[in-house]
Symmetry: C2
Subunit: 333 residues, 2 copies
């Protein structure tokens, strides 16, 4: 592949001059510039991003660490990030961490080796300390879907406690009193906080949420099916199911219907996330809207901005609050 040197030779000028026209540098004669451009074109010249990164000490690329690309939630996340990087002509380095400490660590490590000063990371397995340390090393380090007070201005996150409260509040307003919860078995903060929110709201209304009314399983459709089966097997009475996410909610509806239980008339179901899926299942899922895409774009902008020298404002954080999307799976009792 042609280098800057080849171009210089072909054009009979020096490296410096070529470099200047590449970067729209200031002092180059109009004629020379045109001639060189033409030659670059003919020879199919492409700047070597690696060499550039080396001398510039910055790489025009954004590192991304996600948990699981095939999950619609993360796919949407990736999509949002991609949208803003494309606008800014920035390349994405993508890694998947699958919620395991070592893999996440490894993913970030690789990004570090590539010297990308901007990164958007979704980490649940790494501890606060590690992440805070990272934020110190990487100027454009931004966390998505996680809040750590010490680096609040690098966190783009959803208020899960508020989300839990909103779910519960809505169900209460619809007259539901016998409530079951199906949640994720992964003991990361999200499920814990959502349940906490639900509990708070319920207790405020004088209703207890016994542990027996909560089932834990994998946060996917199958998990939702299993969780509800367990609930049913225990002979639990409930008129409302609050799910950890839309996939679980969908699985829950399937099983309920298989048992001849009408959704939403006998049992109402509410999801969380509002991913694509929510519109596909029947009845259409009432759920909490998690503005993933917007948040992802914000996170990417932030990372890029910090990386290019803008200092993170102290004291701010980027908190989002989920809102109810009313569809068909919840009904007044």
């Amino acid at each position: 592949m042609a280098t800057i040197k080849d171009i210089a030779n072909a054009a009979g000028v020096s490296l410096a001059t070529v470099s200047r026209v590449i970067n729209d540098g200031p002092k180059v004669g109009k004629a020379t510039r045109e001639r060189i451009k033409k030659i670059m074109d003919e020879m199919g010249y492409r700047p070597n991003a690696n060499a550039r990164a080396l001398v510039n000490k910055r790489s025009a690329s954004l590192g991304v660490v996600l948990a699981e690309l095939s999950d619609p939630f993360f796919a949407t996340l990736a999509h949002g990030i991609e949208a803003t990087t494309r606008k800014q002509g920035v390349q994405i380095l993508m890694s998947s961490g699958s919620i395991e400490r070592e893999t996440e660590r490894q993913a970030i490590e690789t990004l570090l080796e590539h010297r990308c000063e901007a990164m958007v990371v979704h980490s649940k397995a790494l501890d606060d300390e590690t992440l805070i340390d990272l934020a110190g090393q990487v100027p454009g380090f931004v966390l998505i879907n996680r809040y750590i007070p010490e680096i609040a201005n690098r966190c783009v996150w959803l208020d899960n406690v508020a989300g839990g409260r909103a779910m519960a509040k809505y169900m209460l307003s619809q007259g539901h009193r016998d409530i079951a919860v199906i949640s994720s078995r992964y003991q990361i903060e999200d499920p814990v906080q959502r349940i906490q929110g639900i509990r708070e709201e319920l207790e405020q209304a004088g209703i207890a949420l016994p542990d027996a009314n909560i089932e834990y399983s994998t946060p996917d459709q199958e998990g939702g099916e299993i969780a509800v089966q367990n609930l049913l097997a225990k002979g639990k009475q409930f008129t409302a199911v609050l799910a950890y996410n839309d996939a679980m909610a969908s699985g829950a509806m399937t099983i309920l219907q298989d048992h001849g239980i009408d959704v939403p008339n006998e049992v109402s179901v509410i999801g969380y996330d509002d991913v694509l899926l929510a519109k596909y299942c029947r009845p259409k899922l009432t759920t909490l809207r998690y503005p993933v895409e917007v948040m992802a774009m914000r996170a990417a902008e932030l990372a890029l901005s910090y990386a290019s020298g803008n200092r993170p404002e102290p004291g701010v954080t980027f908190k989002y609050t989920p809102t109810i999307v009313k569809r068909e799976s919840v009904v007044k009792r």
Copy 2:
């Protein structure tokens, strides 16, 4: 960030020695090796991937060009690729091309600038010639979901004509004779080939597929809804709908049901792709399994293999054939 030089100074040895221990080079004293390793650890040394790529002329990274990350199909594709790259410790450079010539071109351009010798690209907008040219430049260039005879050994693709035939054949076997097709309005090869397959099979059975029985729309749920609405509005009679993909099929079912038409008893519906979605909708979607993930893994392996010097075998190609997955949306007539 500490460089190899810093380490050398701190250890009182030369650059070369440090470099040797980093790469597990052959001739270094055991004691020296341990000492240097310890120092690297203390100083938090990380090799600079850019510098490495520069001197090695190879980048240990795989470029990926997809159309639309938020689409479950592409999300699964990405997931498959990620799985194999992770195993091989290779970094992914991801770009999204959104099926527009210029964006796709730009995406590849950027990858080229990063000098990644391995790429898996999903391109529908670029013409054969461009792609063939690219294959000449990039040793590990692999196309996914596209077949170009001249570079057959770099193509991992699905036989869409066979897919179309399979759909039609199955519907015929179930006694359907009045058949409608809802397809993608994007005139890329996939929809054309699938329809061709359908037509061939039908004609073999002495059944014509008039153009009026085909509706084109966007290849998503909404498009499926619109397409079926149009069919209905035209007063078409049909007992079977063959959809371009699962999303369209799902939309179709929704509209049919909204019109009080029973699926599958009055109208059977078949999808294509077998993405997540197919299991979520009700009735569960009978569809054609597109082994995206397997194919993606294959493509990634191939790209990496070619990139590391293995020459593409002449004469071979990587063709996959979709198979029917029977669920609930098709019924015997």
